[in-house]
Structures are given as C-alpha cells and as structure tokens.
C-alpha cells in the first residue's frame, strides 16, 4: 500500500519536472517540418536531361496503382517515341503509396515532398498532364531511357544505345 502510494508521488514528481521541458509540437503553418527528398507527396512527371518527356505511356503505373487513380493514353510520335496523349491523376483518390514510382521503368513519374494540395472543389484535385509535367529531371539527373533502351527511334538505331552490342543478323552465315 505504501509502495503504491510512493509510486503515485513519484509519477506526480516526474510530470512536474516536465514543466521545464520544451514542447515537442511543430506549429505547422508557421513552422514547417523538414521533409526528406524521398518523402511521398504530390506526384510529378519529369523530363530527361535532354528536355524530352520521360514518360513512355507504358501503363505500368496505372496497373500498379492500388486505388486506380492514374489514367493515361498512349500515343506514338513521328520519331518512334511513345508518349502519353493524356495523363491524368485523381489526387482525391491517390494514397501517396509510391507504387507508381517503383513501377516506372523510365523514372518519369516521381513523388515530391509537397503535400499542401488542398482544394475547395473535388474536381480541382484531378491533375492533367500539364499540371503534372515539370521541366527538370527530378531525383534522377542523368537517366535517359532512350539512351539505354534497345528501341529504335529516329536518330538512334538498334545497337547504338549505351552498352549495347550491334545486332547480329542470325540469317547470315558470315562471321
């Protein structure tokens, strides 16, 4: 009984000592917390170092998305590149899980540390391609999909990509 009482007294003393500790609170709108570059916030579409859009409209992000908030349509440019004719993310559904970023083979879709995207209308939460596309390369500065991929586009034939051997004509007998 006495021990229990002393335990209560010790609790009170411990709490009293907290009069002199600083509050842990981050007073948000005035005081912003530090967010790491890999924080999963608003989604952007990036461009490669040459200034061409990275997205090849492969639809992997839309497949990976657990809430089906990504919609896009593939188109083909004259030079053979694939690109999204439209690219739409419904952020009122997005759960910022980052699965799309993981699925993306060209590092085009990336999540940024910005989370302040409140709107008064639900329809304003639907971002089209022009809202998503940024000018920079995002987190991966040197990566250019068409430079490493074997796909032939205008100005780069098969076998001309980095670390790519020239294709072998299997129907020829010549060495």
């Amino acid at each position: 009984m006495f021990k229990a009482l002393m335990s209560q007294v010790r609790t009170i003393w411990t709490i009293l000592q907290h009069s002199f500790t600083r509050a842990e609170t981050v007073q948000y709108p005035e005081q912003k917390p530090y967010l790491a570059p890999r924080y999963r916030g608003r989604i952007v579409l990036t461009k490669d170092p040459d200034g061409e859009e990275r997205c090849v409209a492969c639809n992997l992000c839309a497949v990976a998305c657990p809430v089906d908030c990504i919609a896009l349509q593939q188109g083909v440019k004259e030079d053979g590149r694939w690109y999204p004719e439209f690219f739409r993310i419904n952020f009122s559904r997005c759960i910022m899980c980052g699965m799309c970023e993981e699925a993306c083979p060209t590092n085009a879709i990336q999540l940024t540390p910005d989370f302040e995207m409140c709107e008064y209308n639900r329809s304003s939460m639907v971002y089209e391609k022009e809202h998503l596309q940024i000018e920079g390369t995002g987190k991966y500065h040197d990566y250019n999909f068409y430079r490493v991929a074997g796909l032939a586009i205008t100005g780069k034939d098969k076998g001309q990509a980095e670390n790519e051997a020239t294709p072998i004509d299997v129907k020829s007998l010549l060495p």
Partner: protein, 317 residues
C-alpha cells in the same frame, strides 16, 4: 455588511465563479499542455485565451436537443442542479475577514450538504437520458459519492474538533498560529482525495470515463446543457480548492499582501495542483476505487479522528 451589500457581493461572487470556471477550461488545457510537452490551445487571442469565447459561442449556437426517449423534465432539470448547488456552496466561503456572503454557525455542514446535492444532478442526468452508458455513469457516480461522502465529512471533523466551531470564519481565525495542514495532515490528505472524487475530476472521473462509457452520465447531453455540466464540474473544482484553502491552508491569512489576494493565490496554487494530478495519475478501476474508499481512506480518517481527539483531550488536560 448591509443587505444590499451582501446581495451585490453575492452576485459578484457568482459572476467571478462562473467566469473563473470558464477561464479554467482554457487554463487547464494550457497547463496540461505544459506537463505533456505540448502547447494546448494557443491560437486565438493572446496565449489562446479567446478560446474560451470561441468554445462558449460554439456551445451557445448548438442545437438544444432533447432525445425523444429521454425523460424530458428531469433531463432538462438535471444540469441546472449541479450549477445551482455548487454556486450555493460558494456562499459560505470566506474570501477575506469581511468578505463573505453568509457566515452561519454551520457553514461547513452547509458546504457538505451542497456538494452532496450536486450528486443528484449526475444521477438524474444519467437516469433521465435513458441510455445504458449514461445509466452506468449515473450508477457509478451514486456509488462513488456514497462511499467518498462518508469520509469526506469525517475528515473535516478533526478541523472542527481543533477549532470547536463549524463556522468558516472561526476556522480561519483559529489558524493564526499554525495552519491546519500541519496538525491535520491526514485530514488534508483524505479530504483532498474525497474532494477530487466529489467533483469527479480526473483520477476519479469514473462517472464519465470516456474510454469505457463514451461520456458517462452526459452522453446524451449537448449544447448549453452539456456546458452546464462542465460549468458545474469546474465550479466544483474551484469550490473544493476554496474549501481546502479555508480549512487547511489558513484561508485569507498571510503577511504583507491583502487577505483576498492571499486567498486567491492559495486557491490558484491548489487548482494547479489538481490539474497536475489530472496530468499525472491514471484512472483506477472501479472496484479499486471502491476498495480504496472503504478499506483504506475510511479507516485512515477514523484513525485521524481518534488521534486528533486524543491529542485535543491531552492538550486540555
């Protein structure tokens, strides 16, 4: 004091007590914040003090709703009872040598009676709500009050014995040499615990225990009726602190500063201590509460009573 003076002073006390209780809602939250390493409401006005006004506005504009299954008359009456009883309790508190509404020779009994009346509010509120959580809350409060009222009164008898009077003024005057918190330390301890239980504040807030009973006896209440319950609770806190000050800490007595200032300072310090208890101590289980009341506090009080009586006789003889 003249009759008019008494009435106007009484009105002043009512406004001061209600205003104090309102500010206390904000102050308690800030103080709890300090002890829990956060800020509490600090946005509205200087230090967030206008939070009181915002809360009040919100409660005032809420839909004043009585559930169709409730016992309408009792449901509406219950919240007023606690406020009225607690405010009446302030009548016997001496704020200074000449600052009191009522100095009756049974002041202490009057106070005990008024705090007991407040139980009806909780009990009837729980009963009239016609809701199982509310009923459980009311049930608990009834049992808690019965158990803790017993030694609440008895714990004060030591003070009465030493003073030889039930009048609050005489009790304060008798503490000129030494405050009763020294010879009556057991009485202070038991009265404080009974006081917390009586005003059902946090370590003993089993009637409302939001983790078990949603909100206990005031589950069905909203708007101003809910505000009345809260007001009554905070008034009860202030009243208990006033009583502890008067009975154990020498009331208005103190050097240099005017008596009223001393009284208010002591009450303020006690309120801070009660908030500290709320911040620090977890709520006991219901059977623990009961066994603490009957098996420990009551024998302790009786022992204190016996000891005080023996010493008083020995000093005389």
């Amino acid at each position: 004091m003249t009759e008019l003076g008494t009435i106007s002073f009484g009105l002043l006390i009512i406004f001061a007590a209600v205003g104090g209780a309102a500010v206390l809602t904000w102050f308690e939250r800030r103080l709890l914040g300090v002890w829990q390493d956060r800020y509490g409401p600090n946005r509205l006005g200087p230090f967030g003090v206008l939070q009181v006004a915002a809360d009040m506005l919100k409660l005032l504009t809420k839909h004043d709703w009585v559930p169709p299954f409730a016992d309408r008359l009792v449901f509406v009456f219950a919240p007023t009872a606690i406020v009225v009883a607690m405010l009446l309790g302030f009548a016997v508190v001496p704020f200074g040598p000449d600052l009191y509404v009522l100095d009756i020779n049974i002041g202490l009994l009057f106070f005990l009676g008024m705090t007991s009346l407040a139980v009806y509010s909780v009990l009837l509120g729980g009963l009239a709500s016609n809701n199982k959580y509310a009923l459980l809350g009311g049930l608990r409060s009834a049992a808690q009050m019965v158990s803790y009222e017993v030694f609440m009164g008895l714990s004060l008898m030591g003070v009465v014995m030493l003073t030889g009077s039930f009048s609050m003024r005489d009790i304060v005057e008798a503490q000129r040499d030494v405050w009763y918190c020294v010879p009556q330390v057991l009485g202070l301890f038991t009265f404080m615990i009974a006081g917390i239980a009586e005003s059902h504040r946090l370590p003993f807030d089993l009637p409302e225990a939001e983790h078990e009973l949603t909100a206990g006896f005031h589950t069905e209440y909203g708007g101003m009726k809910f505000a009345m319950f809260m007001l009554g609770e905070y008034l009860g806190l202030i009243l208990i602190c006033c009583m502890i000050t008067t009975l154990f800490f020498g009331g208005w007595l103190g050097p240099v500063l005017p008596p009223v200032v001393w009284f208010c300072l002591k009450v303020f310090a006690l309120i801070c201590f009660f908030v500290l208890l709320r911040a620090a101590i977890p709520r006991p289980r219901y059977d623990q509460l009961m066994s603490l009341g009957w098996k420990i506090m009551l024998p302790l009080t009786l022992f204190n009573l016996l000891l005080t009586g023996a010493i008083a006789l020995w000093m005389e003889g």
